[in-house]
Symmetry: C2
């Protein structure tokens, strides 16, 4: 494939992403019902053989179909980081919830062309929810095209439906970056009091479909946030990277996306 | 039935509660898939024909089985409020999420003998989750007995898994009671940063099974909180009513429940 991806290329790449999501859903449902092995990493976070084996399967499927593409995921070392097309996987976003058998975890899959996301999929296997998008091809919830309208001005801000992450995410890199964003969480929850807190994948999905008006996710590595921008933009919404820095060379992002007016207002919280 | 409920009485009453939950689950799944009509109440909250018709069905089943029992629910006027045994129903806890097709809503069912809850059921139809308990008969997740141990002292407080409600719940009665408990939400989320925010039924269920360590739910009418105490106590956990007042004669409660050490620490947030 040359520089400009054709519509046919994008269809093929999107279909590969959907095949990955099918495989991931099948495996995760099996692990969730049948059992899995849990370890805690040095930082206290969890990893299971379900994360590791599912990511390995997604990588193998992708290497077989597209041997020259790069592969970036949470549980295995990056491969082909300088490739023009790079796949980003988080096979289990919300491993802590998965480990505690809370069925709101999900799979995040995206494809980047250079710095631009061109395909994105979010899949919540136990809830049977999926959204996908590809550049110029639209965003879909299942087989239904998503059109994300704006919030009616008559709806008071206190009723806006916001999804976000726990306060622990807002403060998790305070030592590395010398800044504690707990105060941003406090302003967000005070000014937008009708919020729900899930792990990223479900929180993102609800803001893409319009089931929530916006999502705010803070201090994430690329695999957590990889699918949000292409999904939001193809759905007709907005996506705003409000923080962008590196820790040990790895980029980190704080992001607000969903209905335009909500994104605009919430992004201001990060300016103060 | 005389004053002391026998074990046989309790089995019969618990089995009725489970039959109600079966009926409610069947109806709500049908409505969720097949569609429903939505209205907004004067206060901006939602009600659907699914709430109204499901509560009506639960009342009819209960009146047929136990004609002298009282009935209290969100969508219909109370009946037999002075009866010695009173059923409390919330057919759809989380109607706003139901309306937005977020599958985390649930049904709350409880039976009170005087002021004492003796049976409790929480059912999350779209996630296939259910817990139930009856006085002296234990608490169960599906068919599995729940034994809620305490948190190991080695787990740091910042890793404790807490479920709670949105900040809007903490402030919702500020005008009626002349107090704004937003500051309690802020202290809770700062001191227990590993939280998730769902609607009551799922938030409660996760703290009863031990999938979360504790739940904090604030400023609730009786039907939101009705099942929590009997479930927590029968599971071997603790339940602490940290606020109790009336608005227009209706009692309101703020409640902390789950693993004992977590309940003890969190309850202190309401003392300051």
């Amino acid at each position: 494939m040359d520089d400009a991806l054709t519509s046919a290329d994008l269809v093929r790449l999107r279909d590969h992403a959907l095949a990955l999501a099918d495989e991931s859903r099948r495996r995760l449902r099996e692990f969730f019902v049948g059992g899995f092995e849990v370890k805690q990493k040095a930082d206290g976070s969890y990893v299971t053989n379900a994360d590791i084996e599912t990511e390995r399967a997604l990588r193998a499927m992708t290497s077989a179909a597209f041997p020259d593409h790069g592969l970036i995921g949470e549980e295995h070392a990056a491969h082909g980081k300088d490739a023009r097309l790079r796949w980003v996987f988080d096979p289990i976003d919300g491993t802590e919830d998965f480990v505690h058998r809370v069925p709101t975890f999900g799979t995040i899959i995206a494809l980047y062309q250079g710095e631009t996301p061109v395909v994105g999929v979010l899949d919540v296997p136990m809830l049977g929810l999926r959204v996908h998008a590809a550049k110029g091809l639209g965003a879909f919830s299942g087989s239904e095209r998503i059109t994300l309208g704006d919030i009616a001005r008559s709806v008071p801000q206190e009723a806006w439906r916001i999804t976000t992450s726990s306060r622990s995410n807002f403060v998790r890199h305070r030592d590395a970056i010398g800044r504690d964003d707990g105060a941003i969480f406090d302003r967000l929850t005070a000014q937008f009091p009708n919020h729900r807190i899930y792990r990223s994948c479900l929180a993102h999905l609800l803001a893409i479909t319009g089931q929530a008006d916006a999502c705010v996710d803070a201090h994430n590595p690329i695999w957590d946030i990889a699918a949000a921008r292409i999904l939001a933009e193809e759905a007709g919404g907005a996506c705003c990277t409000v923080q962008n820095y590196t820790i040990g060379g790895e980029p980190m992002y704080s992001t607000v996306f969903g209905r335009k007016l909500a994104v605009e207002r919430i992004a201001k919280l990060f300016e103060a």
